[in-house]
Symmetry: C2
Subunit: 454 residues, 2 copies
Amino acid sequence: MEPLRFNLEQSDIPTHWYNVVADMPKPPAPTFGPDNKPVPLEKMAAIFPMALLEQEVSAERWIAIPEPVREIYRLWRPSPLIRAKRLEELLGTPARIYYKNEGVSPAGSHKPNTAVAQAYYNSQAGIRRLTTETGAGQWGSSIAFAGQMFGIEVRVFMVRVSYQQKPFRRSMMRTWGAEVIASPSSLTQTGRDYLAKDSENPGSLGIAISEAVEEAASRADTNYALGSVLNHVALHQTIIGLEAKKQFDLAGDWPDMVFAPCGGGSSFAGAAFPFLADNAAGGKNGKLVRLVAVEPASCPSLTKGLYAYDYGDASGFTPIMKMYTLGHDFMPPGIHAGGLRYHGNSPLVSQLYHEGLIEAISVPQLATFESGVMFARAEGIIPAPESNHAIRAAIDEALRCKETGEAKTLFVNLTGHGHFDMAAYDRYFDGALDDHPYSEEALSTSLRHLPQVG
Amino acid sequence: MEPLRFNLEQSDIPTHWYNVVADMPKPPAPTFGPDNKPVPLEKMAAIFPMALLEQEVSAERWIAIPEPVREIYRLWRPSPLIRAKRLEELLGTPARIYYKNEGVSPAGSHKPNTAVAQAYYNSQAGIRRLTTETGAGQWGSSIAFAGQMFGIEVRVFMVRVSYQQKPFRRSMMRTWGAEVIASPSSLTQTGRDYLAKDSENPGSLGIAISEAVEEAASRADTNYALGSVLNHVALHQTIIGLEAKKQFDLAGDWPDMVFAPCGGGSSFAGAAFPFLADNAAGGKNGKLVRLVAVEPASCPSLTKGLYAYDYGDASGFTPIMKMYTLGHDFMPPGIHAGGLRYHGNSPLVSQLYHEGLIEAISVPQLATFESGVMFARAEGIIPAPESNHAIRAAIDEALRCKETGEAKTLFVNLTGHGHFDMAAYDRYFDGALDDHPYSEEALSTSLRHLPQVG
């Protein structure tokens, strides 16, 4: 029986994360504050522990994973690399398709890879509480789990409309002991200001970020945690690609192309950056791996945005970062892949794309659900809507291989399961979904509202 | 780093299921029809394929698992055996606690172990369609998945009140291509009769079974599939315990006690029967394993029922089997562990209990949720309400070990994840759950309504 699953032992969990900065042609572009000056580390120390800030600016290639973090990773890691043989047969392709199943984590996605590390470093810094924001709850549930592992209290500001309409990830957060607050709330000045204007305000990710940061900045025992975009988040996620490389060695195979969904950039960074290390060294046995970020056609920061300085959040509250952006005013259409609804992209992913070291494509919503259903019927696993983006792109490539006869090896980052997204699948089956294209006019407006910096 | 997870390779998936009948002191008690005569196999052949009926009556110790079934098992099997080290530390117990995580299957429970086998044997018999019933959808989603794997159409009669209130397992079934019908429906005579009396009938598992069987019996291309109780279902589930034994060998450990939730009996049979084989042979190295069926205090067929002949279903439609029963009239209180709300128990489990070869205990609902939350906070995994019964019993035993200082090895069958049961956890946190004790009066009434047979 030819193996379909490539198991690593727990002792094979990588001992170091990979820092792509060491292999970038140029150092990362600096981040600016509202005063138009580069942001000093100390300024961020009010809400992040120094260990994470050091990782944020490090140029070291390898950064040791603390043993207590590996200890928690062991609850679900190494995650399996699986050959999608039944999908290949269904497509009739000579391509070989493999996927890394990050849905096996407690929270059901790749997010705990960084949440656990962040909770650990905060606990080491004597922090007793973390605040964060969450939309549908993927990130909130991950940090709730991670906080529980290290005895850290977690308060999650959850966008009010999601709090009301999507109760089950909220239930997960409660199960892991987190406090979940509908945002805007009366607990912060930001929240009270919004509620004073409109007591029925449905909330937004921007408001929730502001509330979480405000509370973290005002309390010495409390820090803030962010689930994407930042360099240290990308760093922690490289555990995905590092494990995958060991597993491809076990399989006696090596990817020609890597596909990962790309919103804020952390799941793409996690799968792709470790292969970029090989590319930078001339490729494994001279073979370069094509690294493909797959974004929603409704929110295509890499493929339709500008490479420019912009705010990390919608309300202009965060530092200003150089990234591919649709403009911080850009309101992404209401696609179900909530984790990809972000106006920008991570500075690291953006710079690598700008330098031509990675590729990007975009796919429309209906095509992603069509592929997700095909995947579920072939492989059994129901993927998260975000993951369906990478699956769609891999299926399209496999079908091209069918035409050309090429036996390419394709690697998909299956970032999570869809158990909390079944309502979206229902809407797809009911014909109630559409592609939610963005408005060209809105995009050109938001692109005119970029801050002047640098 | 001491290993916490004991991985098997896919080539280690057992090649044979274990049939406990070969090691029972007496042959299984016969099953009777409404004519008070043992039911001949041919009579059941209208709705089951002969291969399954042969397994139903086989006394062979080992029954080969067909390669196409192992091929599908490989999508998630072998399932991991995990040492619950963090839970042990939380309890401060010298006991070692291990759990087999059956929640990693596509449908999220142990049910696909038999669904896949049943779909395969039906496809080999030329059957193109299967009907079945489902309550909350655990079994329906498993057979939907399994049918999809072998190109068999699946029609699921889903209890109407669940169809309306628990839409997400219905969505899973749709994703795997099954047709889901609210029961009672206008598609069968049974359904039409109920609707004629009450067009708003909320349905019941009994009505849904009747609809599924009626349709299967009336169409040559269609069979019926059942997810628990029967001997062939218990047989297929033994893959759980067979894998676990290999994994305990890897761990260099061996259970003193096995805990599994017990409703219709299949998850208990799956975990426990393979260890009973060792007990029958004098125990591994002379060590006998205690096998503990854990049932809900609200529906305690083994611990409070009679060992007697009774109908397998509530409406007296099925053959009459010898089992521990609360009476087919007994309406189990509305606990959230829907998979354990069954008036009887499997004939095999019942006979073994009657012969003193296994044990049984019951636990009340609130205690099970308390343990599930403790488990989630220690181990990360949110268990299904059914699984929480086994977890509760193991925790209680671990706490006894803490008092006595015994370092027992405890094995828990974690039958599924709780991702589709978060509303139940919410009710627990909100203080809205109670223990739902059964009515002694209702029980004594239903025990007076057993059929006269034999």
